[in-house]
């Protein structure tokens, strides 16, 4: 058992690009669910639209990287607009089902044989990272003892954490503004806000668009970091995992989603590495009669499902949250 490599895997991923993708997705969800009480279960759809916006603009239309990013962001804002009009008047559980369905429609359409000429079918799109890579100032990777990253990871992390910091700053500033107070009031009591003469629908729409665009940013970053966009990456599970990350850290807290994503990836990678080591080698710690290495790779997801249930039952506010501030009842 090599504990060094387990710790390395856990820390590398906790601070690595994958955690940044989830942090961005969860910051968006935090604005939807944490602050406004909108149960958006289609965050994967916003991310997919951002990523495919970037990839289609750059691969099919030969546009430069900044324009590609802009296309991705505009696409996720437009998705929020289209999705918001029919759904924002619905109760939370209906909203959840509709957004999940919309995200699935998008994933199916992006991966369909019939749209292969545009979205590249089930293999998706790649070959749009030339500019991104050429901007990389690092010449080699880094190993800090308890974690290690490649040259490309370092570049992605530099940009990614700056973006995450800016998004947190934006959330912090917005949520202490009068606008943010209205959002939180909507979460607490929609009718009271309405009776004070505020246009609840408009505020919800703005929140959906803002969170969706931050989610789209997460999708764009996802695309750039792994140099490809594959439709199957944007399944419903991505949304569920982002929610898990958000709930671990604590909803309605500025840093909740960021810390949550880091813990999420620390646990997922650490457990993954532990069980993969425990079942491999000549004399494995856990014999193959108990579980094979394929089965061992599932343990972390089984534990995560269990963890999500226990978290929601015993500590729905997560690490930093305030129980009074979580929208737990559908209104």
């Amino acid at each position: 058992m090599d504990f060094g490599s387990i710790i390395d895997a856990a820390f590398s991923n906790a601070f690595g690009p994958q955690a940044i993708v989830f942090a961005l997705a969860a910051i968006g969800l935090n604005i939807h669910f944490g602050y406004t009480g909108l149960l958006n279960f289609g965050q994967a759809g916003f991310m997919a639209v951002g990523a495919f916006g970037l990839a289609v603009a750059m691969v099919r239309l030969d546009l430069p990287l900044p324009v590609g990013i802009l296309v991705g962001l505009v696409a996720s804002a437009v998705l929020a607009l289209i999705l918001g009009v029919p759904t924002l008047r619905l109760r939370a559980d209906y909203l959840a089902i509709v957004t999940i369905a919309a995200a699935e429609i998008l994933r199916l359409v992006f991966g369909a044989v019939e749209t292969k000429a545009v979205f590249g079918g089930s293999n998706g799109l790649n070959g749009f990272t030339e500019t991104w890579n050429s901007l990389n100032p690092y010449s080699k990777g880094i190993d800090v003892g308890f974690a290690s990253w490649s040259r490309n990871d370092l570049w992605a992390m530099t940009v990614g954490w700056v973006v995450v910091a800016l998004c947190c700053l934006l959330t912090w500033a917005l949520m202490r503004s009068p606008w943010g107070r209205v959002l939180r009031s909507i979460r607490e009591d929609e009718d009271a806000v309405r009776s004070l003469g505020k246009n609840v629908f408009l505020y919800k729409m703005q929140a959906l668009m803002l969170g969706g665009v931050i989610g789209g940013l997460g999708g764009i970053f996802f695309a750039l970091k792994q140099a490809s966009v594959v439709p199957s990456d944007y399944s419903t599970n991505l949304t569920f995992f982002a929610y898990t990350a958000l709930l671990i850290g604590g909803a309605a807290r500025v840093l909740g989603p960021v810390v949550g994503s880091m813990i999420f990836w620390f646990l997922i990678s650490g457990l993954g590495a532990f069980f993969s080591q425990a079942t491999s080698g000549i004399d494995p710690l856990i014999p193959a009669s108990v579980m094979t290495d394929t089965q061992a790779s599932l343990i972390r997801y089984i534990l995560m499902g269990l963890g999500l249930m226990l978290l929601m039952i015993y500590r729905p506010q997560g690490i930093f949250g305030d129980r009074k501030e979580i929208a737990l009842d559908a209104r």
């Binding site: 559980d93 369905a101 089965q295 999500l308 039952i313 559908a330």
Partner: protein, 445 residues
């Protein structure tokens, strides 16, 4: 349907395979060409030529060598539609028309010269491109089996029937979801796992323990009901009594779904497997549609089950209590009903129905650890379309969703993503009539 098309295709190919005919064969063809300008249709053709050979394929009379058809006029034109020559088939059924060389030609047959009882069963004119200096052999199918494109009506009816079958399976699961939602307000995102539970349990009973599929299926309904009862007892009832909010419960169900899905994969593996019986059955032709026996059985079982549930819901005390709790839990409790007991039965019944849906789905196609999860959105779509919380709405919505899914590809929905049609309907219905078809108008926004 596919099988029949393949058979037709092979018949066509057989009719089109022709041997190079020796030039000497044409010398026995004395009949004069009708066109004087056409070169040497009655003379032996030695240079490049298009040779047409006509054989009566006598479709349906097996065992014979197809006899040649003599005395039929064929005409060859070049690609600018200028006639190059014509010829009449000789006793070997062969007509040769000399051509200037390689290129594109069209060969047509004069149907009026065909002998009685011989009919052309393909196109009258064939486009031939000659790539060899020696020429090309051409054939026309005569008395072959007629190739007909399946008419739209038949494809439509076929899709509707297959959609109804799919819808009936969805309906079983949707009734369970709708009952549970109606009585507890829980939007159960792990409902798909109840379906998978049924399919996998039946698989283990059938494949590992060696029980016949029918017995395994019946046992599975009971085990599925027990699973639902236990789930309510261990998880949902304590949560209800703690006063957990419905969004919190929804997220708990997501966690449970994740847990169960991965447990299924842990024990069942990622592969797709079949039950030991009824795996491949040939479809019977019922006129406008084809169904295999197991598909008929699936539909009958589903219809009978829905009938039984209908009787329970309308005729028995328990059914009435379920509807009352679904309508107004607080009022039911104050009227002296044991609400928790009723909810327990709802979970048992809902899970048993979903397990049956899983068995039927596994019987219809195959068993996989993801099968219920993949069906979940269809079940949601069906329930919302019919009206969340209403049992009849769930059945009606399921049938509509099933038919939309299967008919969609005929009307332009890309076939590889036919579920999209149903999901679009889900979003549209919430725009137009959020309470669903049979739902009561109440505040849902």
């Amino acid at each position: 349907m596919r099988l029949r098309t393949a058979a037709l295709f092979s018949v066509m190919m057989a009719g089109l395979v022709f041997l190079a005919t020796p030039a000497s064969a044409e010398t026995t063809s004395p009949s004069p060409g009708p066109s004087a300008s056409a070169p040497a249709s009655d003379a032996p053709v030695t240079g490049p030529a298009i040779r047409v050979r006509l054989l009566d394929q006598q479709e349906g009379k097996a065992g014979n060598n197809p006899p040649p058809v003599p005395g039929v006029t064929v005409t060859v034109s070049d690609d600018s539609d200028t006639e190059i020559g014509r010829a009449v088939t000789n006793d070997a059924g062969v007509a040769a028309v000399a051509i200037p060389g390689k290129g594109k030609y069209s060969v047509s047959i004069d149907e009026s010269t065909l002998p009685d009882g011989v009919k052309l069963t393909g196109k009258k004119t064939l486009d031939v491109s000659v790539n060899l200096t020696s020429g090309q052999n051409v054939a026309f199918p005569l008395n072959g089996k007629v190739v007909e494109a399946t008419p739209f009506v038949e494809r439509f009816v076929d899709s509707v029937v297959s959609g109804l079958k799919y819808g009936l399976i969805i309906a079983l699961a949707a009734m369970g979801l709708s009952l549970i939602f109606g009585t507890t307000g829980l939007t159960n995102f792990s409902h798909g796992e109840l379906i998978t539970f049924g399919a996998i349990t039946a698989y283990f009973l059938n494949s590992t323990l060696g029980l016949p599929v029918i017995l395994a299926g019946i046992l599975t309904i009971g085990i599925g009901g027990l699973f639902g009862w236990g789930q309510d007892r261990v998880l949902w009832r304590p949560l209800r009594s703690r006063g957990t909010g419905i969004i919190a419960m929804m997220i708990v169900s997501i966690g449970l779904g994740l847990l169960l899905r991965n447990l299924y994969q842990f024990f069942f593996g990622a592969s797709t497997r079949s039950y030991t019986d009824y795996t491949s059955q040939r479809a019977r032709d019922y006129g406008l549609f084809d169904l295999s026996d197991k598909e008929v059985a699936i539909m009958v079982i589903a219809i009978v089950t829905i009938g039984i549930v209908a009787t329970i819901m309308t005729r028995t005390r328990l059914g009435k209590a379920m509807r009352a709790v679904s309508d107004n839990p607080a009022l039911s409790a104050s009227s002296g009903m044991r609400v928790d007991g009723v909810i327990s039965s709802v979970w048992t019944m809902g899970a048993a129905l979903s397990a049956l849906a899983g068995v039927l789905l596994g019987l219809n196609s195959q068993v996989n650890f993801m099968m219920g999860y993949q069906l979940l959105l269809m079940v949601f779509a069906a329930t919302i379309l019919g009206g969340l919380g209403t049992v009849w709405g769930a059945v009606l919505g399921s049938l509509i969703i099933g038919v939309i899914t299967e008919v969609g590809p005929l009307l332009g929905v890309p076939g590889s993503i036919k579920e999209v049609g149903a999901l679009v309907v889900l979003i549209l219905i919430l725009l137009i009539r959020p309470q669903g078809i049979l739902g009561r108008a109440e505040r849902i926004g």
